[in-house]
């Protein structure tokens, strides 16, 4: 008989893990910077990819709604950031990011309400339309959004008291805050009845409705939640690249996010982090390998893309449940070898 009715404070546990991770990462960034400032800059990209992937993995992995439009939702967050900052250059980033999150959430209510009526390929098609169409809006209203060239976003600079901190380190530190907050909040949510309801709907909508779940409403909640993450991620992306431009939110961004959550481990929050690391670092490594070998330019230009695809195919063959799934399996193998004989059944999916 195990832990009957033991009340474990989830907030405390998740916050401690989140804080520990955040502080560790902040320290690591500070230590790496003198040797490799570009790596620090890349870690900021990992932050926004991880936030967006975490939101998408809850929507697609747990709730079963496939979205090909999350790149466009990131665009809404990024443009909100750029427009808000246009008038007030030194507005507090926390305020700006909150504004981007709120605006994207509102947009997600509309998309989510439509999405709740659609299933499978229809939902994919509708969100695909969003990904393709939304950048066009930015071009059409060029007086507000700056057209093809986009709108610039002022770089974050450390306060005077911390003037010795390099700008890229400061950016990474700022990026870690919303990342930790997002993961703590989502971890809280996923382990409660909301997480169960999300998954129950994914598995069987009829049964979910019979047992008192408001299916459509819960689906909208999941969409808005994940849209909010995308908006926050988009805002951080704008700060990182100092720009909100249509070219930053192509369809491939949405697909990259999907690739990230699948390769990381669909429906798992740690998987979102693994996926973000993969989509940021793997293309870069492939690029540097490619540069090192001397190939004709026609081959050299196309090779990274093919290799990137190849890495995904091989990874999915090796880890059908993504990196997180593979790690969990390894860990269980070790645990069961240690306890030889007594096998524990699977608990939870996250």
């Amino acid at each position: 008989m195990k832990g009957l009715g033991s009340v474990r404070p989830a907030l405390l546990r998740h916050s401690m893990v989140g804080l520990g991770f955040g502080l560790g990462a902040a320290l690591a960034v500070w230590a790496i910077d003198p040797y490799n400032p570009f790596l620090v800059y890349q870690l900021s990209s990992v932050c926004y990819f991880a936030i967006a992937a975490a939101g998408l993995t809850v929507l697609t992995g747990l709730n079963g709604q496939l979205s090909l439009g999350h790149g466009a939702l990131m665009g809404i967050g990024a443009y909100t950031t750029a427009v808000v900052l246009k008038g007030h250059t030194d507005l507090n980033p926390a305020l700006v990011m909150s504004a981007a999150t709120v605006v994207t959430s509102v947009a997600s209510i509309i998309v989510g309400a439509a999405a709740a009526r659609l299933r499978g390929p229809y939902l994919a098609g509708a969100t695909l339309g969003l990904a393709v169409g939304l950048p066009g809006v930015a071009v059409r209203f060029s007086n507000i959004f700056g057209g093809d060239a986009g709108t610039s976003v002022p770089a974050l600079t450390p306060p005077d008291a911390l003037s010795s901190v390099a700008p890229e380190v400061w950016l990474a530190w700022i990026g870690l805050v919303p990342t930790v907050v997002t993961f703590v909040v989502l971890a809280n949510l996923v382990r409660t009845r909301y997480g169960r309801d999300f998954r129950a709907i994914r598995e069987d909508e009829v049964a979910a409705a019979l047992y008192g779940i408001r299916v459509a409403r819960t689906q909208v909640v999941a969409f808005v939640l994940s849209g909010a993450c995308a908006g926050l991620a988009g805002s951080l992306l704008a700060y990182t690249s100092n720009l909100a431009a249509p070219g930053s939110f192509p369809l491939t961004l949405s697909l990259l996010l999907l690739a990230a959550i699948v390769i990381g481990g669909l429906g798992t929050l740690p998987g979102a982090v693994w996926g973000a690391l993969v989509v940021v670092f793997v293309p870069d490594w492939i690029g540097s390998v490619n540069d090192a070998v001397h190939l004709p330019s026609a081959v050299r230009d196309q090779l990274p893309l093919a290799l990137f695809g190849g890495v995904f195919v091989v990874a999915m063959l090796a880890f059908p449940h993504g990196i997180q799934g593979g790690l969990v399996r390894l860990w269980r193998l070790r645990a069961s070898r240690r306890k030889a004989g007594t096998s524990e059944p699977a608990i939870g999916t996250t």
Binding site: P9, A10, V185, R193, R199, D204, L210, G212, P345, A346
Partner: protein
């Protein structure tokens, strides 16, 4: 349908037994007539509102959520009116923690009542069909419904398991009314106080099982199907 009674609904294939359940649970709209529950008209109730009304229903194909553990399946069934909101779940307030722990306890108690608590952390897909059936019953029972709608609970069960099911249903009589759609006449005859027979959507007979079994209209409707089960005596001593 009187309180505390087990009512059987039988009829040939396509008679409208499951459709009747679908109308009551709001998946289909009645073309005519009223659905009265506890003196209230519940026409047009939406499926997700049933639970709050005290009606629980099992599905023919079990409808268990395969990606949720047995315990989690039953926990969803145990949803209570006083549950913490979205913000409290997001921020991980202790209110939400308490709800989770209490719901888990409720679900565990229900599993223990049915003798399957040791499967709590398993995923239903890997369990034998009979156990999955108990899980789906646990999910329906955990909300302490006053009306339980069972859609073919005996299908796929062995005869021993059907006997256990009959015992369980009889023990529920004190707590709730049960409506039973079933093909297995032996189960119907052994647990039901009353049987309604449907054919092509019409009620062609109702009454105590022994009488219904001899009804002319019923035997006509079942023409070609065997009604020669030795259920009469089994039903009699089961009730004794």
């Amino acid at each position: 349908m009187p309180a505390g009674e087990i009512v059987g609904i039988i009829g040939p294939n396509g008679a409208g037994k499951t459709s009747l359940f679908n109308v009551v649970s709001g998946f289909l709209k009645p073309q005519a007539g009223e659905i009265l529950y506890d003196g209230r008209r519940i026409n047009g109730v939406r499926p997700h509102e049933l639970n709050a009304l005290g009606i629980a229903r099992t599905l023919q194909g079990l409808g268990l959520w395969r990606g949720l553990t047995v315990l989690e399946n039953v926990m969803v069934g145990a949803r209570r009116a006083a549950r913490p909101g979205f913000v409290s779940a997001l921020t991980g307030l202790s209110r939400s923690d308490r709800y989770e722990a209490e719901t888990a306890d409720l679900a565990r108690d229900q599993l223990r009542l049915l003798g399957i608590e040791h499967f709590a952390d398993w995923y239903p897909g890997v369990l034998p069909y009979g156990v999955q059936k108990w899980v789906s019953l646990a999910r329906a029972l955990v909300s302490r419904p006053s009306l339980l709608l069972l859609d073919e609970p005996a299908s796929g069960l062995t005869s021993t398991e059907i006997k256990e099911l009959a015992d369980l249903l009889r023990s529920l009589r004190a707590q709730m009314s049960v409506a039973l759609v079933e093909h297995r006449l032996d189960l119907i005859m052994s647990v039901c106080e009353r049987v309604h027979v449907l054919d092509f959507g019409r009620l062609i007979a109702s009454g105590p099982p022994e009488r219904v079994q001899k009804d002319k209209a019923v035997t006509d409707a079942y023409l070609g199907e065997e009604l020669t089960l030795n259920v009469a005596e089994e039903g009699a001593d089961a009730r004794g």
